[in-house]
């Protein structure tokens, strides 16, 4: 023991030998605190934890610096599941004695295991929630919550007691008794536990007596008289027994079953139904996916077939074109037929150039290269026989139209004249004039240029050049 004034160690004297302070009363207070600590320790040893806690709290009210008492109080709190209170005491203890303090080990024990600490924390939160449910009247929810709490922290005495109280309220005496017995295993001297247990045992004893009709020491006159008071023959104590308890229990059982069904339905709704819906959705999603894949495959097939149709159509068009080349107006067959007609007309009457020219006019020059060598040979032969004469006829006709200022007819005939006889420069020159006079300057210039190119150093070329210059100036 040290002096409160100077901190010196005190002797058996009632004053401090160092500073002279009066320490008689102080020593008595500290001694009483030590006595209370010893009592608390004794109670804790026989697991009277609530008694020990009360005694140790009194000890600390006398002497807050009693570190052993504080550490023991922390241990007691820890044992009844009040971890936060235990931690409080140990932290204060460590502050009072920073070194060589076992509280250090206790704190480390909790802090080094965060998972366990979190579990304790969850248990406390759930307990508070359960208490809140009780205040709100949601007792069934409170029972469920308290069961969770006790699964997290089986030593939580307050939770056991609250659950037992709820069972008592619901007249589930056996369940209440079981919870209270668990409480007693942790804390034998808890007055709340003992009171609840006493009540529960009384009711259960009366139940047994009711069942055996007269067995034991309880007077069941009350049952016959309809009174709710049952008197013990041995002790004379009176107990208030619920007269319609059986009916109440039946009703409560039905209510419990109904609540159970409701909870079951709720659980099914909350847990099973969403799972089913999810599974069904997954099934539908799978079906949609499969249908989508099939649709994609069909679409690809349709695209492929459309492509085939396009290809086939283009082939058909190509074949039609080829067929036209043979059978159309400018086709090979037609050209061959016209050439044969020209040959036939020439053989019948070589002087009738007009009839021959009618047939030859129908042959397109473009088909000459495609119609084959024999066709070309015959055509050239016919042209050599009649070309110059036909050209001369067309020239005469064209010049007549030109002089009559019928330039369209003149252009047509002069064009044919030059095509039958390429040496006829006059036909080409006058064709240029016809174009010029008809106002078609572009073709006129082209035609004059052709004259300059085909027949150079001629008067026609010189004039053509003059006209080209004039037209370019315009």
């Amino acid at each position: 023991m040290i002096c409160y004034n100077c901190g010196a160690t005190l002797t058996h004297n009632d004053f401090c030998t160092n500073c002279g302070a009066d320490v008689a009363r102080y020593k008595k207070i500290v001694s009483t605190a030590n006595l209370l600590y010893n009592m608390g320790l004794d109670k804790a040893r026989v697991r009277d934890l609530s008694g020990a806690a009360e005694t140790l709290r009194q000890c600390l009210k006398l002497d807050k610096a009693n570190v052993d008492a504080r550490n023991l109080l922390g241990l007691v709190y820890f044992e009844i599941g009040e971890y936060v209170l235990a931690l409080n005491e140990w932290v204060i203890s460590k502050n009072l004695r920073p070194t060589k303090n076992i509280a250090d080990d206790y704190i480390s024990l909790l802090q080094d295991n965060p998972a366990k600490l979190d579990t304790y924390s969850q248990a406390v939160k759930k307990y508070n929630q359960a208490l809140s449910y009780c205040y709100q009247g949601s007792l069934d929810l409170a029972v469920i919550q308290l069961k969770k709490v006790l699964s997290l922290n089986p030593k939580y005495v307050q939770a056991h007691q609250l659950l037992a109280l709820l069972y008592i309220h619901d007249e589930q005496w056996e369940d209440a008794k079981r919870e209270l017995n668990r409480c007693q295993k942790i804390d034998v001297g808890n007055t709340i536990t003992l009171r609840y247990l006493n009540e529960t045992r009384n009711i259960l004893d009366m139940d047994d007596d009711d069942n055996s009709y007269g067995g034991g020491g309880l007077d069941i006159k009350a049952r016959k008289s309809g009174s709710s008071v049952i008197k013990s023959r041995d002790t004379g104590d009176s107990y208030t027994a619920p007269v319609i308890r059986k009916e109440n229990r039946t009703v409560s059982t039905i209510i419990n079953v109904a609540i159970g069904i409701l909870i079951g339905v709720a659980v099914a709704y909350l847990l099973i139904l969403p799972a089913r819906i999810s599974a069904a959705r997954e099934g539908v999603d799978e079906s949609l996916k499969a249908a989508g894949e099939q649709l994609d495959a069909k679409t690809a097939q349709i695209n492929s077939l459309e492509q085939d149709v396009k290809t086939a159509n283009s082939q058909i068009d190509k074949l039609k074109e080829e067929l036209d080349m043979y059978t159309g107006e400018s086709g090979r067959m037609s050209a061959v037929e016209s050439l044969l007609g020209a040959v036939n007309s020439y053989l019948e009457n070589p002087e009738d150039m007009k009839a021959v020219a009618e047939h030859l006019d129908q042959i397109d020059e473009d088909t000459l290269s495609e119609a084959g060598e024999s066709f070309g040979t015959v055509y050239k032969l016919m042209m050599s026989k009649v070309g110059v004469d036909v050209g001369a006829e067309y020239y005469d006709s064209g010049m007549k139209s030109y002089q009559a200022e019928m330039y369209e007819d003149a252009i047509r005939d002069l064009t044919k004249a030059y095509s039958y006889d390429n040496s006829n420069g006059d036909a080409l020159y006058n064709l240029g004039n016809a174009y010029r006079k008809s106002g078609d300057n572009v073709n006129a210039i082209d035609t004059y240029n052709k004259v300059i190119e085909e027949f150079p150093d001629t008067e026609m070329a010189t004039r053509s050049q003059q006209y080209v210059n004039e037209l370019n100036v315009d």
Partner: protein, 52 residues
């Protein structure tokens, strides 16, 4: 008979871990020894004043 409502009032919410720090800081640690020492000091002060 146990009165449920009355019994329920005896149950109080437990301290949560988050509240531990505040609980430690706000705990009144004054003990009887502190009160006694205070009384003795007041007594001494009064005696000095009387002597003066």
């Amino acid at each position: 008979m146990i009165n449920f409502e009355e019994e329920l009032k005896k149950f109080h919410p437990s301290l949560e871990i988050e509240e531990a720090e505040d609980a430690i800081y706000n705990q009144d640690l004054t003990d009887i020894a502190d009160l006694l020492v205070g009384l003795i000091k007041e007594d001494k002060d009064e005696n000095r004043e009387v002597k003066q």
